[in-house]
Amino acid sequence: MNNTGETDSSIGSSEYQVNLDVFQGPLDLLLFLIRKKKIDIHDIPIATITREYLVYLDKKERINLEREAEFLLVAALLIYIKSQMLLPRERLLDDEEDPRQVLVDRLLEYQKIKAACAILRQKEADELPKWKRDVPPPHFMGEELDLTEISLFNLAEAFFILMKKKERENIQIIMGKEYSMEEKMNEIIEFLKENHYLDFTEYFESHTTIEEALVSFFCLLELIKARTVYAIQETLFQTIKVWLRKESRK
C-alpha cells in the first residue's frame, strides 16, 4: 500500500482554535479534518490525518475524561491503521482488505447520519411552531385523563421511580473507595498477562462502582499512551480489545 498524497505540509496551529466540545465525537472531528484538507474520504492519507488529529487533541484545554477517552480510542485506531500500512506485506492474501476500510465505512455511515440530522433539524423547526391539543375537550374530561402510552421503558421506569421513593425513606451514604492508579495499572497488566487480551466492554461492566470503572479507564489510556498496551476494534460492532505489547510481556 503506497501512501501517495501524503505531504509534510505544515500543520496549521492557528486554524484549530475551535473547542473540542463543538464536536459530537471523534468521528465528527475526523470528518471535519477530512473536509478541511479536501481529502477524498475513500482514499485517506492516514499519516497526515493521524498527525492532524493528534495535533488537534493536543490543543484541547480542559479535560473531560469521558469524552477525551473516546477521542483517544480513535487516535489509537488511527495509529494502528497507520502501523498496518507501514508494515511490509510479506504474504498478501487475496481477500486482504485495505486496513483503512473499517474507518472509511464508519466515516461514510456517520457522514450520512450527520446529513440526515441536518435535514431532520429543519423539519423539527417546521413542526415546533405547530401546536397540538394535548388535552381532551372539557366535555369528556371526566372519562379518563391520565392516559399514558405504555412501553417496556415506562414499565421499568415506573417501578424504579417507586423504588427510589422508598429508598429516600432510608438514605444511605456510600463512601467512595480510593483507587490507586498504580495499583490499577498493575492489575490491568497482570490481567493481560494471564488472559491474553481484555474485552473492553466486559472489563468495565465487571466494575462495581463508576469511580472504579473510571480509574481503570484512565489507567488503560495511560497504558496506551505509554505504548505498553494497544487497543483494537476489529470490525464495527465488535467490542474493543486491548492487548499487551510483546515487549511488555515479560
Binding site: 401546536w131 391539543r133 375537550p137 412501553s151 417496556l152 414499565l155 421499568a156 417501578f159 417507586l162 427510589k164
Partner: protein
C-alpha cells in the same frame, strides 16, 4: 388586518384548555386595540355559527371554548373507547410494574408498595389479561396471589420474565441528571 387577527384568536382558543376570556385575549394581544379584538372575536363566533361543522365555540365560565357538538357524542365515545384499548393509566402502569418485579404478590403487598390502594388498577389489569390469579397465599385471610400473564410477555416482546429491564439497566438511564436538554 382583522381577518389575520381573528385567525390568531382562533388558534389561541384551540390550544386553550380552559375558557378563554376576552380580558385574557386582550392581555395577550397587546399590540391590538380592544375594539379590534372584540370585532375579531365576533368574526370568529360568526364563522362557526354560520357554517356549523364538527366543532363549535361556546360561551362558558366567563370565556370562549372550542368543543364538539353534542350530537356527535356517540361517535366520540366510541373513538375514545377504541383509543383506550392500547393504553393504561399511570396508576395501572405502576401496579403492573410492581407485580412484574415482585411476583408472586398479593393485593395488600401491591398497595403497601405503592402507598395507595391498588384494587381498581388491579381490576383493570385483570380485565386486560395482563395479570392473572395463580392461587391463594397460605397466610391469614388467604389472600389471592397475582402474577403477570403470558400476554404480558407478548405485549412487551419478552421471551421470559428474566428479560425485564434490570435495575442496573434502568437506573443507568434514570440516574444521571439531564444536562443537555
Amino acid at each position: 388586518m382583522s381577518i389575520q387577527l381573528s385567525n390568531i384568536i382562533e388558534s389561541l382558543l384551540f390550544v386553550s384548555a380552559e375558557p378563554l376570556s376576552t380580558e385574557k385575549i386582550k392581555n395577550v394581544l397587546t399590540e391590538y386595540s380592544e375594539q379590534e379584538i372584540e370585532k375579531s372575536i365576533d368574526l370568529i363566533l360568526e364563522k362557526y355559527t354560520s357554517h356549523p361543522g364538527g366543532i363549535q365555540i361556546i360561551r362558558t365560565g366567563g370565556g370562549y371554548l372550542f368543543t364538539t357538538r353534542s350530537e356527535h357524542d356517540p361517535w366520540i365515545r366510541r373513538l375514545l373507547r377504541v383509543n383506550r384499548k392500547n393504553k393504561l393509566s399511570s396508576a395501572a402502569l405502576e401496579t403492573l410494574s410492581t407485580i412484574a418485579y415482585h411476583q408472586p404478590i398479593t393485593l395488600a403487598e401491591i398497595s403497601a408498595f405503592r402507598g395507595v390502594d391498588a384494587t381498581h388498577s388491579l381490576k383493570t389489569l385483570l380485565q386486560k389479561k395482563l395479570v392473572k390469579i395463580v392461587g391463594r397465599k397460605k397466610s391469614p385471610g388467604k389472600p389471592l396471589i397475582y402474577r403477570t400473564s403470558e400476554r404480558f410477555l407478548t405485549y412487551f416482546g419478552l421471551d421470559s420474565l428474566k428479560d425485564l429491564p434490570s435495575q442496573e439497566e434502568i437506573s443507568k438511564l434514570l440516574e444521571e441528571e439531564s444536562d443537555e436538554d
